[in-house]
Amino acid sequence: MLEVSNLHAYYGKSHILQGVNFNVQKGEIVSLLGRNGVGRSTTVKTIMGEVAPQGSIKFKGLEIAGKESFEIAHLGLGYVPENRDIFPSLTVRQNLILGMKSTQTQGRWTIDEMFRMFPNLGERADVEGGVLSGGEQQMLCMCRTLMGDPDMIMIDEPTEGLAPKIVEQVANLLQEIARRGVAILLVEQKLSIALKISHRLYVMGHGKIVYEGTADSLMGEDAVRAEWLEV
């Protein structure tokens, strides 16, 4: 589904990504872990075309490095940014409508279905997005991306600042998304949700992938966790 090879990216003269290699297969949940500042968010922004890439990024066999963000999204790659970025002056329903790439075709998800899955959003369908709680905004942001019917989504720190109960809801939604055949690249700093739902995971350090394995194998690697993950 997604194949990233020797990916480099720069912010000015700072060399942030220094040859990142990883892949995500269809229907898989893959986590990209690491401490703050190691380049996790830059990786997804670079894949999405927000940061100029050097190297190869193949999505569904097509080279997408250098394409515009909207072209990448149209190919079926969704992105839920770290800051949630809902449109505060638009209503919940309008936020969801905005996620649809076209009104002509029906995707895997509908607005009514989203409201059934998240009754809180349904009850506040005509309320401006800006007044929702942090958890509701996170759900809205994920649902909005799903309305575009992506084949894969990249989610940056979805549990940041959320209460444990909401984190559980996020985990359930991610598993439901994967069940419907949508691949997920989950970018996380915390291990809890990633270990619970990921099929595979990568650990980043200093702009590179420093470990690849499964949740079980990572739990057996105390040295890796101590060096690259624990604070």
């Binding site: 909207f70 999204a73 940014p81 002056s89 905005l98």
Partner: protein, 316 residues
């Protein structure tokens, strides 16, 4: 007195709504690109000249339809091949570009159409008094100007608030990257809004040309006032631009229609000056004489007491 008030209000509405057609495009373009398009009034002038030329061969109504379309297409091309490239060099470069474009359009118009005033006429079918009140006539063409302007305002408002494309535009104004990540072609949206904004300016030129005369300085006459409106309304606020347009249209119209001098106004607050006073010329000005500077006076007051404009929001 009532007659003066009614006609001043109607004329103020005509001017205000006309100004709104210009200001709406300008404020939308500013919201999206963060740049004040100094060439915006030039598109208004282009509209009048294109409509004048078209009306020579195909009549007024063809000009009303085709001139805004041509101006909008020119505007879209200016955004695509001019502003979008300059955008990478920052806002100063964009401002210089739009300044240069304004000069270029003015010179091109003088080169193609000459320096004289054009005999651009309103259509014969609207050449009758819409109604007569207190023995004074209100022309059907002015009524037509009000109808067109109000129609545009209602369409624009409905498109921006009710349609999917309006929702996308609203979101793209504040969060362009997020909208692009959802699969919407933001550069195309920007080009479209720039095109529609300039087409609206062109339409204003088409309907204003026969009333305010079509000459190479017509952009300069309204250009500065439109900027005043956008600032008073609040940069980027469409509703603010609407209120400010009407406010300035009515303010100027009332000032012109009134027959009041500064001495009478000053007497009301118990102030009077000797005729030998060195500033006597200033105190004896009449309101119609100061009408042209009233928008700028209002601008200064708004900037002092409400720097974000009437409906503008402070940037976070």
């Amino acid at each position: 007195m009532l007659e003066v008030l009614i006609f001043a209000t109607l004329n103020g509405l005509v001017t205000g709504l006309l100004l709104f057609m210009l200001a709406s495009g300008l404020t939308l373009i500013f919201s999206m690109m963060g740049v004040l398009n100094f060439a915006h009034a030039s598109f208004y002038m282009l509209g009048a000249y294109f409509a004048f030329s078209i009306s020579q061969y195909l009549g007024f109504w063809a000009g009303l339809i085709f001139a805004p379309l041509i101006v909008g297409s020119v505007g879209a091309l200016v955004e695509r091949y001019g502003l979008r490239r300059v955008h990478k060099s920052g806002h100063v470069a964009e401002l210089v570009f739009t300044f240069g474009l304004a000069f270029l359009v003015e010179e091109a118009i003088q080169f193609i159409w000459g320096r004289d005033t054009k005999n651009y006429q309103s259509p014969d079918i609207l050449d009758f008094p819409l109604f007569t009140l207190f023995g004074q006539e209100f022309s059907a063409y002015r009524g037509f100007m009000i109808a067109i302007s109000l129609g545009i305002f209602i369409c624009l408002y409905r498109v921006l608030t009710r349609s999917r494309i309006g929702i996308i535009i609203q979101a793209a104004i504040t969060h362009p990257n997020t909208v692009a990540n959802l699969g919407h072609n933001v550069p195309l949206i920007f080009m479209g809004v720039f095109g529609v904004g300039t087409a609206l300016a062109g339409l204003a030129g088409v309907i204003a040309g026969p009333v305010l005369t079509t000459f190479p300085g017509m952009a300069a006459v309204l250009g500065s006032i439109v900027f005043v409106i956008v600032v008073i309304g609040g940069l980027g606020s469409l509703a603010g631009a609407f209120i400010a347009s009407l406010l300035i249209g009515l303010l100027q119209s009332y000032a012109i229609a009134s027959d009041v001098g500064m001495p009478e106004l000053l007497n009301l607050i118990g102030v009077s000056f000797e005729s030998s006073h060195p500033l006597n010329d200033l105190w004896t000005l009449t309101l119609p004489q100061v009408a042209p500077i009233l928008p700028f006076l209002l601008l200064v007051l708004v900037l002092i007491f409400r720097p974000t404009g009437l409906l503008g929001k402070r940037e976070e």
